[in-house]
């Protein structure tokens, strides 16, 4: 599971896909998740890192993380190798 290579992500949370022309904005947590995924971390490790950084219960985090991954895939930001 990787962020597509040509996706541009700014510090402000602006995400741009030059292949489709789509652009999105995300909040700070979303930006952190994408940056962690870009480093090659597995989803489980990303959840653990976010859990350590933010005050949130693990169950809510895992559910929201799953929704966020689905959204990233749907918008062709995230590539799954399967």
């Amino acid at each position: 599971m990787n962020i597509n290579k040509n996706i541009a992500i700014s510090e402000t949370g602006f995400i741009f896909n030059p292949t489709t022309g789509d652009s999105f904005t995300t909040n700070r947590i979303g930006n952190d998740i994408i940056k962690l995924l870009q480093t090659g971390l597995e989803p489980g490790d990303v959840i653990s890192t976010i859990y350590e950084q933010y005050s949130i219960d693990r169950q809510t985090l895992e559910k929201d993380f799953g929704d966020f991954m689905y959204m990233l895939k749907n918008y062709q930001i995230l590539r799954t190798d399967d």
Binding site: N6, A8, F16, P18, T19, T20, G21
Partner: protein
């Protein structure tokens, strides 16, 4: 470097909500590093905004509407040439190209250069024969059929399923969900653009477009893809963004190269949810958004001008990513004397 002085006549000055490509082409030429151009605007109506854009258009003349035919057009251009010594003409409307192509040899004799496809090539990409064009050039095309009557529309049941697209021979397309809508659109479009009407299979997906330029020998000089971000009620782009899509560029290059396209063109595609590209139309002139290509480092109108003058142009190899265009409307205040002049004398 000294710029070469040229007088270039351009049509398509209708910079309205469904804009002609004339003004973007002129902007591109005015920004040329190679040419210092004097622009002669050729208009069909007295309220084409380009007529009054004196910072872009140096002198304007009205020309006869396309149905008047090529000989009337030639007479008018001969007169304009006697006044202005035109070096190159760049026509920008689908509906006028037939006439311009026909008089190309005569224009050449006058010393006016053009860079247009042959009549045969022009006809080969026509909406009514796009199926064959797709097969010859290795690109998928939605199934389409040319019809001339409501009876033909009623007989489509076995070949097509709704929704389907009802298209005019030059402009406009509407999506019909059932026979009643199809009949309604048939009348609407045929009243405006005449017959035949083209019926096309509806493919769902994202519309993407490419502005391209061919040198007529099988080389694609440039190709820049764009996706519309804001669309007017007429389906025209009001904002668009350049795409970094190698597959789309490859397909477009292949079409221009295999067909040996000569001149500017716009390739309109649908990208299906599976990522397949279907060519919907190949328009035989630059699109109204061609200035985006200039903004990305490919000045297609300048390259076309060079080729019209017989110069060899090397293909553009890349373009700048991350650029978008945003259109705007702007009210010019025009003196009635100018409107009177173009309306009565046909010159401004």
């Amino acid at each position: 470097m000294t710029k070469k002085n040229l007088t270039v006549a351009v049509t398509g000055l209708n910079n309205i909500d469904s804009p002609g490509p004339g003004i973007p082409v002129i902007r591109a030429l005015k920004e040329s590093a190679k040419f210092d151009v004097r622009i002669i605007g050729l208009s069909y109506e007295s309220l084409e905004p380009g007529l009054y854009m004196h910072d872009l258009v140096d002198k304007s003349y009205q020309i006869p509407m396309p149905p008047a035919g090529s000989s009337v057009l030639y007479d008018r251009l001969e007169y304009i040439h006697a006044q202005e010594q035109i070096d190159v003409i760049i026509p920008n409307f689908d509906s006028e190209l037939h006439n311009f192509i026909r008089i190309t040899p005569q224009l050449k004799q006058l010393g006016i250069a053009t860079f247009l496809p042959s009549q045969e090539l022009f006809e080969s990409r026509h909406k009514s024969v796009l199926d064959e064009f797709g097969k010859e050039n290795g690109v998928s095309v939605p199934k389409s059929k040319m019809i001339t009557s409501i009876a033909d529309l009623r007989d489509l049941d076995e070949e097509f399923t709704y929704p389907l697209v009802i298209k005019g021979k030059f402009y406009e397309a509407m999506i019909a969900s059932n026979l009643e809508q199809a009949i309604n659109y048939f009348y609407k479009i045929s009243a405006k653009w005449g017959l035949p009407i083209i019926v096309q299979e509806y493919i769902s997906g994202i519309e993407v477009n490419v502005t391209a330029l061919g040198d007529g020998t099988g080389r694609c000089i440039g190709a820049v893809p764009m996706r519309k971000l804001t669309i007017t009620d007429k389906g025209k782009a009001w904002a668009g963004i350049v795409l970094d899509d190698d597959e789309l560029i490859d397909i477009s290059r292949r079409i221009v190269e295999k067909s040996k396209w000569r001149g500017g063109c716009e390739l309109e595609y649908i990208k299906s949810p599976k990522g397949e590209y279907y060519l919907l139309e190949m328009n035989p002139r630059f699109p109204a958004w061609v200035y985006l290509a200039v903004g990305c480092g490919q000045n297609h109108p300048e390259a076309l001008l060079q080729m019209a003058l017989g110069e060899r142009v090397e293909p553009f190899e890349s373009f700048t990513q991350g650029k978008l265009f945003v259109r705007y409307s702007y009210d010019m205040i025009v003196d009635i004397a100018e409107f009177e002049k173009i309306s009565t004398l046909g010159e401004l």
